[in-house]
């Protein structure tokens, strides 16, 4: 890739050639080159990955296409600390589709200081196998 294009990375809607065959587009996040990746799928199987400049790009494309996952960070209500919100994160990545529900669940919680960094705030959140943990100590103020 010799040209550095840095627009928002979205192409037109993924092209559907027929019901079983389509091409999906992704912007690679592995490095600032931002390769425009294409994943061609037929009958539910990936037939080709194009556009990458390195192996990391290919791995990324496959992952994003089959099982996109994200680390979720948000804040949870906490009483008795310096701040009224405690920053938390998922200890690993969760399916991208679960992000909004994970946040909804966390926004219902109310904790009490003191809390220790790494403390589990929600175990195995929404059955993802991933815990949500505190990102910091929050001692009693």
């Amino acid at each position: 890739m010799s040209e550095e294009r840095r627009d928002d990375g979205r192409e037109a809607a993924d092209a559907r050639v027929d019901v079983d065959h389509h091409v999906s587009h992704y912007l690679c996040i592995g490095c600032p080159l931002g390769c425009r990746l294409e994943v061609e799928e037929e009958a539910g199987e990936i037939v080709e990955i194009r556009g990458q400049s390195c192996k990391k790009g290919e791995v990324f494309a496959r992952q994003e296409h089959t099982d996109p996952r994200r680390v979720v960070t948000t804040t949870v209500a906490i009483d008795g600390g310096l701040w009224s919100r405690l920053p938390v994160k998922t200890a690993g990545d969760v399916p991208k589709g679960a992000v909004v529900d994970v946040c909804r669940l966390l926004h219902e919680l109310r904790l009490e200081a003191p809390v220790t960094i790494g403390q589990v705030v929600a175990a195995d959140v929404l059955g993802t196998g991933v815990d949500v943990v505190a990102s910091r100590d929050m001692p009693r103020a």
Binding site: V100, C103, R104, H107
Partner: protein, 482 residues
């Protein structure tokens, strides 16, 4: 509520009148539609106390400019707002303009304005090295000064209140009827539906942009007020001292031109423009910005847009004749103080005495109080204190050791004082303490100010506003989000 005098409008004119009234044994009220005084045109003007020589001969503006100019030292002494006589320079770029300078100088001298002198290029370079070398001559007037106009409003109002005047804030006048004893004024508080009634024997119309509508309510008007907008641009504090005096180009019939103003606190301000506008149009514009910086650069070539930290616009209340409309109206007991555009700030103390004379002539008895207190306590300005004063202040109250605004060095103690003395909003704190006026434009201090308003006024953080009404800053989290 019954009063002897109701002053409609809490800008610098209304506040100056209120303070004058407070010297006498009578019941007075200032009716102001914003949540604090001075938040209309008065907070947005250039803050210049004109030297006294620019106003044309034989005009009310000219006469009151000089009279008013001479009254500001005493006021600042009593009321502790920032005021300093920095002097001004009116600059000529060619022979015709040099002739104009001489005319203005002679006009001032005839009026009795002292110290006027013409400076040639060498004197200018020495005194103001950053001014343009294209300036061939300048008229220096030592009597010009700079003031923080909103501070003056707050302190005038505070003095009036301390001496018994009532402030009816957040009240909009909806109608005025003549009654047997004077006037019945219908006011609406905030956005309430039902009006309240204020009765007054005499009314002073100091309602700025809306003075015409107010006067028309009792058919005392017959004049029209139009709004002329002026945009101003504030520059980074690194330019403090860049220019020491207020710098004017040669004046034109409609405007004093684009000026370079070293404000009381040192921040350089450039502007204002002059364009007709609707009475609610306070937008700054790309064209206005271009005009201001071009005009400023003509006087001081080193000024750049890169130094801009903030901008604002103000609306001048302009009468058809461009003159003040000041004195009795055709309705007995209804006194006008309208059309108060430049040099109205300068003239304000003198305007107040003219208004009181008109009220007296209309039948208001003015009996001086023997317990009138002319002074208000000086507000603490931590940044201006000596080390020893700072230490003893902090020993008295550690709230003065906690910094809320780091750009302008304003402490928690000062913000609390401002709230104590009437600040209800972030702008109210800003205009009393300078917190939020600096180069980070509130990025650091806004949260701290919000917390203090929440704490001292007992309101939720989400009820804190920038300047009252619907200007909320934050809202509560949303149930069930995302």
């Amino acid at each position: 509520m019954r009063y002897d005098v109701a002053v409609i409008g809490g800008g610098v004119i209304g506040c100056a009148i209120a303070r004058e009234l407070s010297r006498y044994r009578l019941r007075a009220v200032v009716i102001e539609r914003e949540c604090e005084v001075g938040l209309g045109t008065s907070k947005a003007n250039s803050g210049i106390i004109h030297a006294g020589h620019h106003g044309a001969e034989g005009t009310l503006k000219g006469e009151l400019e000089w009279r008013g100019n001479q009254m500001w030292d005493a006021l600042a002494d009593d009321l502790h707002f920032g005021f300093r006589r920095v002097g001004d320079l009116t600059c000529a770029f060619d022979e015709d303009q040099r002739a104009t300078l001489r005319q203005i100088m002679e006009q001032g001298q005839r009026r009795g304005v002292p110290g006027l002198e013409l400076w040639g290029p060498e004197r200018l370079r020495r005194e103001e090295p950053h001014l343009s070398h294209d300036i061939v001559e300048a008229l220096y007037a030592p009597t010009a000064g700079v003031v923080n106009p909103y501070e003056a409003c707050f302190m005038l109002a505070e003095s009036a209140v301390r001496n018994g005047v009532d402030l009816a804030l957040e009240r909009t006048v909806r109608g005025i009827r003549r009654s047997e004893k004077g006037f019945d004024i219908d006011v609406v508080f905030g956005d309430a539906a039902a009006p309240e009634l204020i009765k007054a024997r005499f009314v002073v119309d100091a309602a700025g942009l809306h003075a015409d509508a107010i006067a028309d309510m009792v058919d005392a008007g017959g004049f029209r007020i139009r709004a002329r907008k002026g945009e101003e641009y504030l520059l980074d504090k690194r330019l403090v001292g860049y220019v020491k005096r207020i710098v004017f180009p040669c004046p034109t019939p409609t405007s004093k031109g684009i000026l370079v103003i070293p404000t009381y606190d040192g921040t350089l301000m450039v502007g204002p423009t002059a364009t007709w506008a609707e009475k609610d149009d306070l937008a700054t514009t790309a064209a206005g910005s271009a005009e201001v910086f071009a005009g400023a650069r003509k006087l001081a070539p080193g000024i750049s847009e890169k130094d801009c930290i903030a901008e604002f616009a103000g609306l001048r209340a302009v009468s058809d004749t461009e003159e003040f409309i000041l004195g009795p109206s055709r309705v007995a007991g209804f006194v006008l103080a309208a059309g108060m555009q430049s040099p109205a700030l300068t003239a304000a103390p003198a305007v107040a005495t003219v208004v009181l004379d008109a009220l007296r002539d209309d039948g208001l008895e003015l009996v001086a109080k023997d317990d009138f207190e002319p002074k208000v306590p000086a507000p603490v300005r931590f940044a201006e204190l000596s080390h020893a004063e700072q230490r003893s202040l902090v020993a008295r109250d550690p709230a003065y050791a906690r910094l809320v605004c780091r750009c302008e060095i304003v402490t928690e103690g000062e913000v609390r004082d401002a709230i104590e003395r009437g600040a209800r909003t972030l702008d109210g704190i800003k205009f009393r303490t300078r917190a939020g006026m600096g180069r980070c434009q509130g990025g650091f201090c806004t949260w701290g100010c919000m917390e203090l308003l929440h704490e001292r006024l007992g309101i939720p953080m989400t009820a804190v506003t920038k300047r009252g009404g619907d200007s909320w800053v934050a809202m509560e989290r949303l149930e069930g989000a995302p």
